[in-house]
């Protein structure tokens, strides 16, 4: 048994860490938060040049042809550094959707450009503040044309194309959902940036009005494909979450060691010590569940739905707690705009909601356990 990353993967992680420590200090996401740019183009360009956008894309399609474990360690560092780039949309979602469901022609058409950064892709599922389900989706696909509004679409304002989930009839059944590739710069597409809890990651409302839609996968397989892509993305996001949560713990520790009250370091008070111990515990549970997800993803194991849900639930809980208690550990200064704590609070909540909140994943996890037990 070997339940760890290889030395090569650890080396890659270390490299990514060094790169992002240098190129993505918290001033970088703060710049996006306080400025008008949707993402940091210089950082994005540098990331593309490192080849990270093509890590899991096979060499024949212009990628590095490395495995998912390599992508996991990069994801962890991107999460740690709050990198304000459209990486997750383009790599975890769009690239994965094409790898999972694309025809060879589609792969040839899109993957090399995704790898090279020439194209940015995304995935459009949500339609406002509601749980996106076959029965609640109203965006309609008919005769190769798509109409409806998707909101929020991650990086929808900067992506070149989106994988769009739409219904082909109003039956509400899973088989009524189809995926399409839609050119976001094409005719019949309007998009507008929208305000979210974490402006360091750009989101948009995208409205389709009879826009051209290129089918991705079978027209009755859209929901199953969405779930499959989301399971895969959940593992990758869980590494971003674990990376962010660990950084919160480090920041909380540093602050508590340097802050004095009642004549002593606040880190010497049990209330703080036990809070940080609880952060550590949750982070370790999140990390271990994420590792299992990484194993399932990298081996395409049948356990993936269970492993992905476990990783997502556990890592979301860890980051949520760590980001809240990071502020609490700082006391008054912690809830000021000038301190970086809130950057993590924002990102933590964004990541826990971006593929749908843990509530729905818990339900799916238990369903998967029931299926396994019945089998």
């Amino acid at each position: 048994m070997n339940f760890d990353f290889s030395d090569d993967q650890k080396f890659l992680k270390d490299q990514a860490n060094k790169f992002l420590t240098e190129r993505c200090e918290t001033t970088v996401p703060r710049g996006i938060l306080e400025g008008d740019a949707p993402y940091d183009k210089k950082l994005w360009q540098a990331i593309v040049e490192m080849g990270w956008t093509g890590v899991t894309i096979p060499e024949e399609y212009g990628g590095l042809g490395l495995g998912y474990l390599e992508l996991c360690v990069i994801a962890e560092e991107l999460g740690r550094s709050l990198a304000p780039v459209p990486f997750s949309s383009s790599v975890y979602l769009a690239t994965e959707a094409l790898l999972v469901a694309g025809t060879d022609d589609q792969k040839k058409k899109y993957l090399p450009k995704l790898a090279s950064g020439e194209l940015i892709g995304t995935f459009a599922l949500a339609e406002g503040a509601k749980v996106p389900l076959p029965k609640t989706i109203v965006t309609k696909l008919s005769g190769g044309k798509i109409s409806g509004t998707k909101l929020p679409v991650p990086d929808g304002d900067v992506a070149d194309f989106a994988i769009v989930a739409a219904v082909t009839d109003s039956s509400g059944s899973e088989s009524s959902v189809a995926l399409s590739i839609v050119d976001l710069t094409g005719k019949g597409v309007k998009r507008a940036s929208v305000g979210t809890i974490d402006p360091t990651r750009s989101h948009a409302a995208v409205t389709f009005d009879n826009a051209d839609a290129e089918a991705l996968g079978d027209s009755d397989a859209g929901w199953a494909l969405t779930r499959r892509v989301f399971d895969r993305a959940a593992v990758l996001f869980s590494f971003e979450q674990v990376g962010g949560a660990d950084r919160c713990l480090e920041m909380a520790k540093d602050y508590a060691m340097g802050r004095y009250a009642f004549g002593r370091q606040i880190a010497s008070f049990q209330a703080i010590k036990h809070k940080l111990a609880d952060m550590y515990i949750k982070n370790q549970l999140g990390r271990s569940n994420a590792y299992y997800g990484a194993w399932a993803l990298s081996t395409d194991a049948p356990e993936l739905p269970i492993a992905a849900a476990g990783a997502r639930i556990s890592a979301s809980e860890a980051y949520d707690y760590a980001s809240k208690e990071l502020i609490q550990t700082h006391g008054g200064i912690g809830f000021t705009w000038e301190m970086d704590c809130h950057l993590f609070l924002r990102r933590a909540k964004l990541l826990s909601l971006c593929l749908g909140g843990p509530r729905g994943w818990k339900d799916r996890l238990v369903s998967a356990l029931e299926r396994r037990n019945a089998a």
Binding site: A129, A261, F262, G263, K324, I327, Q328, G331, K349, L353
Partner: protein, 410 residues
Amino acid sequence: MDFNDSPEEAAFRAEVKNWLASNATLRTEGSDDPYAGMSEKELLKLAREWQSKKANARFAQITWPEEFGGRGGTPIQSVIYGQEEAKYAVPRGFFEIGLGMCVPTMMAFASKEQLERYVSPALHGEEIWCQLFSEPSAGSDVAGLKTRCVKDGDDWILNGQKVWTSGAHFSDFGIIVARSDPKARKHKGLTFFFIDMKAPGVEVRPIKQISGASNFNEVYFTDVRIPDSQRLGEVGEGWKVALTTLMHERLAIGGGSGGVDLRELMSLAQSMELEDGPAMANAAVREKIADWYVRAKGLQYTRYRTLTALSKGEIPGPESSIGKVVSAPKLQEIASFGMEIEDMGGILTDPDLAPLDAAMQQSYFWAPGIRIAGGTDEILRNIIAERVLGLPGDIRVDKDKPYDELPSGH
């Protein structure tokens, strides 16, 4: 046990109702805040007018003695007034700290002449007061403050920085505690003053919070001159005066923490569709609603118990100390869960796109401050443990050393 007014309470309530009906406009349930979008300056002008009306009718500080413009009333009368006023659209939020904490401290320590000068303008909303205790390196440990005051003839020279000062930017006066003797033991080298916030060397800067709003200020003091006549209490006895202020802060019967509550969550749950049907029918959602409901009601009924003690002339028991330590985390949990019910769309903050005008999202950024301001969760548990339950204090390493020999960090 009886939720009805006593005959005396009923008579007072009738008087209040009557007065309010002739002097203010009823708030309509569900209607927009009539003050939304108004500038602080405009709002302050309206608030001053309303405060003056109230003071003239002796409804402003009901429990104050008549000589100070109150009516020597009972705390329960204050509450009755508050309950009735809450039904009206009146501007609030400018005078509470001054009248609730600063002026009462003055009443305990200032001279007769000073009270004649300052109480009435404060009561009538003509002058506003703020409280200057916390410092960047003295938050939970207020007595660890650094701001220095040095005697210079009949004056004191003040240098340093205060923080988390609500209303400093529109305040005329402030009460402040500063260190007069760094060689003395921590709690012994402090001296207390009231100061003119418009004096030369006082600079007020707003603090931007994570919510984007600025409810607090930093206040910088550079060679600010304070006449010794504005000292409250003896030199070196400032901690004792500060404790009086803090007692008044605690006596203020806390309401909730602001932000969303069960009403909003239930309204959201009724409108959201989950995998298995309406969120309101989902057992996990229902269980959480029930848990939060009994916490909210437990706090509300605890306040009723406190009010009852007050109305009987008793000093309220320690029940009231549990308010914020329950309500602030509850607010954080409800906001978080509300966003989770909104699922992928829960990240939206545009009031036109997010349910309930993005109330859940706003509360999510408001709650972390509430868990800290006015005593962190941790400090409040210490207070309950020590002052309510009588458990021993933590080991103190800072009590018997001169202040300037204590370690300090950021």
